[in-house]
């Protein structure tokens, strides 16, 4: 049951066995909980209900997290204590600085562009006849994997050498050729390649921004709009004075949410360039250092850095939420 299953029937059996085992554990918990009643029994029931979740989180999230922080102060083999040296490396090594620079590009560009496109599109298709279809088109990339998105865009960026009868098969290079230019090795040219990868993330996240912002736009009270209309406000000031202030708290949430997601982007970089040609980002570098370069200490430090960078964004997010609820 805990071995590697290799044929399909074996795999299905193993899955069913796992689900049964899980159901049995839950059954035992509910059975015991059912035997307690009254006010004092309530406490026991609560702790029983929380037991599986707390146990899993303690073993699977809290302990590993603390362990990684501890490990980040050790060398590549994880045997001798080296203090903050790994963090020093991240902020001084030439390759690591490129990684940091790229991560900054990603986190600054993606949220703003994706949110702007999402907002504009949400306004443009609002109340139109094809609203739900138009939204689905933009939103679909959100449902597919970053890996598949990477493959789709790698094909868009595909390059064929510029020789007599060789035709371009990638859309971007074909457009360049049609416009009279020479084809470019798009994914190798730095720093252009990092921005081309960022486009993929924008392509995915714009749908998210659009969905959330569209709901916020629809929630603006009718009387405000009506009043502004009677005042003869034009489209641009309607957008600036009414739409934008009304959805502003939502915009902040969308920006920060996309920012956090972007900080941890890994699959796109790995699928499209493997982090080569100076396109690596922190999340990708974490994987490379840990598994390919066998530097556990540096890998751990990169993971911790990711964690540390998320915290201020989350705090900002919660603060602005509080402020918008208070007003």
């Amino acid at each position: 049951m805990f071995n590697t299953a290799s044929t399909t029937p074996e795999k299905i059996l193993q899955m069913l066995a796992a689900l049964l085992l899980f159901a049995a554990v839950m059954g035992v918990i509910l059975f015991i909980a059912g035997r307690f009643g009254g006010k004092r029994g309530d406490k026991v029931v609560a702790y029983l209900y929380l037991l599986p979740a707390v146990l899993m989180l303690a073993v699977g999230l809290v302990y590993p997290g603390l362990r990684t922080i501890y490990q980040s102060f050790f060398d590549a083999a994880g045997s001798s204590f080296i203090g903050f040296d790994n963090y020093g490396t991240i902020f001084s090594d030439k390759d690591q600085l490129t990684v940091l620079r790229n991560t900054v590009f990603w986190v600054v560009v993606t949220p703003f562009v994706a949110t702007a496109i999402g907002l504009v599109y949400a306004i443009l298709v609002d109340k139109s006849r094809f609203e739900s279809f138009a939204k689905a088109l933009i939103f679909l990339p959100m449902s597919i994997s970053f890996v598949a998105a990477g493959v789709i865009w790698k094909f868009v960026y595909e390059y064929r050498p510029d020789q007599g009868n060789v035709k371009q098969i990638g859309l971007v290079n074909q457009l360049i050729v049609w416009l009279g230019g020479k084809p470019i090795q798009l994914l190798i040219e730095t720093p252009l390649n990092t921005f081309l990868l960022i486009i993929v993330m924008i392509w995915i996240q714009a749908g998210f921004a659009m969905t959330i912002l569209s709901a916020a736009i629809k929630a603006i009270p009718d009387d405000i709009i009506e009043a502004a209309r009677l005042d003869g406000v034009n489209a641009w000031s309607m957008f600036r004075k009414i739409t934008l202030p009304s959805v502003q708290p939502t915009v902040v949430v969308v920006l920060t949410t996309i920012g956090i997601g972007t900080l941890k982007v890994f699959d796109i970089v790995r699928t499209m360039t493997g982090g080569n040609f100076e396109t690596s980002v922190i999340a990708n570098e974490f994987y490379r250092q840990t598994f390919n370069a066998d530097n556990q200490g540096l890998g751990a430090a990169l993971a911790v850095l990711l964690f540390v960078l998320v915290i201020p964004i989350v705090i900002y997010n919660i603060r602005s939420l509080r402020r918008s609820e208070a007003s």
Binding site: K11, V120, S145, A148, K218, F239, V253, I260, G274, F286
Partner: protein
Amino acid sequence: MSTATPVTTPPLKAEKISTAGVAKKRLSSPWASIAAIVIAVLWTLPTFGLLVSSFRPEREIKTTGWWTFFSDPTTTFENYSKVFGEEGGVNLAAFFVNSLIICIPSVLIPMSIAALSAYAFAWIKFPGRNVLFLMIFALQIVPLQVTLIPLLKIFVSIDITGTFWTLWLSHATFALPLAIYLLHNFMREIPAGLIEAARVDGAGHVSIFFKVMLPLLTPALAAFGIFQFLWVWNDLLVALVFAGGGDEVAPITLQLANLSGTRGTAWHLLSAGAFVSIIVPVTVFLLLQRYFVRGLLAGSVKG
């Protein structure tokens, strides 16, 4: 991630004016329509190009652009039979099965565990309730990367590496903070009178959970279920660390990523492979879009 979005979806019955609607009218519709169409086309074209390519013969994909298909259409299903079959060395069918086997428990297990915990947090008073809830809420911000290596060492020490168990357990654990938070919020909105009435009738917490809560909870469970399903199906990182590359355990995303890395110019395989991998999430999404959007609005994006 992890924070409620301050938006509500209003009922869409009466045709009402909105700022956006006004803005659009004033912008004189043609320009607005053109801009919308341009964005829609830009967003669809990349996928469309690869989709068309997946039905073209290998030689043509590699020598001409997919747009030539419209002047010289030749179609084949050979790419799809190649990625599915074992002889091509791709064997996507096996990885497809793995993805399903990984996903089902990875959705059901955290869903039930979180429902129980959320119930305790929402409807039972016990010492330490607020502190514990806050701690679990805060765990949403922990990036997976921080947990992977120690978790891998735990899996090695209990000897379950290279099995589905590693993926089931880790996906289930990673999902819990978000699931508990979402379900808790939903349960708090159920009128207290319902629960009190059941208690007066002598029902214990077990039967209240099953008879009162669970039926009301379906939309929330569906929203979380779709979220988690898409997350697990589309995951690469967790699979890379725990599953190994063979076709015993690894999901379809992993094989597609490998294919892209080792045979990056085999576009006839990559195009068909990509579409095999996205057919399930896209179908789930299109069928259950309503719940998915509700989940997005209620909460968060984890990771």
